[in-house]
């Protein structure tokens, strides 16, 4: 288990991280979200023992990072945001070095390097010097470095940064497939990515945790979450239409988003009371009735699934 306990760090006058605490268990993928400069990288660097906290501590398998740095570091795989690499080495040389510095040699080293090359799709570049590689390849070499010793704990700072959409998908799949036997923390500024692969997300802003929830829990914080978006014909008499809808008592609010006579089209957003016991299908049946009574065609109906970007903005704007 990775445990952060009241981690605090200042750089000069700026408090980069304040009292950050959380736990990550094996099987978890924790997403670390936050605006730039929020303290994500600083927190991760404290977890890996690269920078020492001013107060608080981090524990890996109940071992303190500040007291047993060597033991802790050998259990962690870390991908830094800037993906630093020894650019004069070839990919294979570099990965061999990563094995050697972790105490592996001989056949074991060779097989570890080969596995990492294969897993990170680096076969084509394995004899190439790192300074000749593209950003995407460099990112993959960094990733290979972090998983080469099959660590129980993975700390990944922006793992998909700089990759093209296909590569991003590959890396996400890889992270997901490794999560069963590992505890993974990853930071990202791509919110959909967090929603897609994490089972928990922490939003950090100004060095403090402002939300710690499942991605679904965060989406529910969107004020529009669960409302119905309806597309229909042009509504001539809006007031009449609204009053007919208001007859349904479980409707909280009706918003007319668009009403265009020219295109004979309108978009309506309807919020239902969250405490109502109506099921989705009952609500849809009810809506169909109302629309047919007002002789409007129900062109499409969908539920708002919540927008993480909006939640993120709401939570981080103050």
């Amino acid at each position: 288990m990775i445990e952060a306990k009241e981690l605090t760090k200042s750089f000069g006058q700026t408090k980069a991280v304040r009292n950050v605490s959380f736990n990550v268990e094996t099987g978890d993928i924790l997403g670390f979200l936050g605006p730039n400069g929020a303290g994500k990288s600083t927190t991760m660097r404290m977890l890996t023992g690269y920078i020492a906290p001013d107060s608080g501590d981090a524990f890996i398998d109940s071992k303190s990072v500040t007291e047993n740095p060597i033991e802790v570091k050998s259990q962690i795989g870390y991908l830094s945001e800037i993906s630093p690499l020894y650019s004069e080495m070839t990919v294979t040389e570099f990965l061999n070095f990563c094995c050697e510095i972790r105490g592996f040699s001989g056949r074991k080293k060779i097989s570890m390097t080969e596995k990492a090359i294969e897993k990170c799709f680096l076969s084509q570049a394995k004899h190439q010097q790192i300074n000749t590689l593209s950003k995407g390849y460099r990112q993959r070499v960094s990733f290979a470095q972090s998983i080469i010793h099959d660590p129980k704990y993975l700390i990944l700072d922006e793992p998909t940064d700089g990759l093209d959409p296909n590569q991003k998908q590959e890396v996400r799949e890889m992270i997901k497939s490794m999560s069963r036997e590992k505890a993974i923390i990853l930071s990202t500024h791509i919110l959909d990515e967090a929603a897609a692969i994490c089972n928990r997300a922490i939003i950090i802003s100004n060095g403090e945790i402002i939300a710690d929830d499942t991605p679904r829990g965060l989406l529910e914080k969107d004020p529009d979450f669960g409302s119905y978006d309806i597309e229909t014909d042009f509504i001539k008499d809006i007031n009449h239409f609204k009053s007919s809808l208001n007859k349904i008592q479980i409707i909280d609010k009706i918003e007319i988003k668009k009403n265009s006579e020219k295109n004979d089209n309108s978009w309506i957003k309807i919020f239902f009371s969250k405490t109502s016991s109506f099921s989705t299908s009952e609500i849809i049946l009810e809506l169909e009735k109302i629309f047919s009574n007002s002789s409007l065609k129900l062109k499409s109906i969908s539920r708002d699934k919540g927008d993480l970007t909006k939640v993120f903005r709401i939570l981080t704007s103050n």
Partner: protein, 247 residues
Amino acid sequence: MSRSLNSVKAILKRELLSYFHSPTAYVVLVVFLILQGFFTFYVGGFYESGQAELSLFFTWHPWIFLFLAPAVTMRLFSDEKRTGTIELLMTFPVTPAEITTAKFLAAWIFISSGIVLTFPVVITVYYLGSPDTGAIISGYIGSFLMAGALISIGCFSSSITKSQVIAFLSAASLSLFLILAGHSPVIQAASGIFPKIIVNFISEMSILTHFKSLTKGIIDLRDIIYFLSIIIFMLFLNTSAINSNSK
């Protein structure tokens, strides 16, 4: 213990590889050997001296290493800081002392390979006459130790900055100070100002004083301890400097 050895070995190997991966290494070695020959045979007047001995050859070592050692060490830490690889290194299961030791050893081995390549000079003096073998051996011991001391200064200078230029200049200045402290004009000037005890202390601090006695064929434990203590002290400062990076 074996873990420490493994980490030192891994970093040492990487550093040596990186020396020989870049053309700088070969340039440095060639420049060293050319300067060595030039100073010994032309400036020093080796043949004119008419003596089959190497003291003339060793006289120039401190002055050549004054520039070569910082050139070899300047990128050791500053480059890692500039490119960010220090973060990678520090998140591997290795201690700052292991990193320092490995990098120091790599630079020392590299410079030593240059010293070893001066063997034709030894062959020359044996061909020309019958030199004092003891003096040659102690001279070489002195040269290796002095190179080690200057490299440890260079390592430390590199660990406190991101800039290779600053690393080079601060190492060269600090080394120049330690070398000059024993130079006779400096001692003479100092003896006009300071009491004898301080002049003696300044000359005791000097690399030149300790190196000279070794090139004369006198292996004095104090000289060896002097060089080793510079190395240990500088590596200690170096380790603390890396440690404080993560504070």
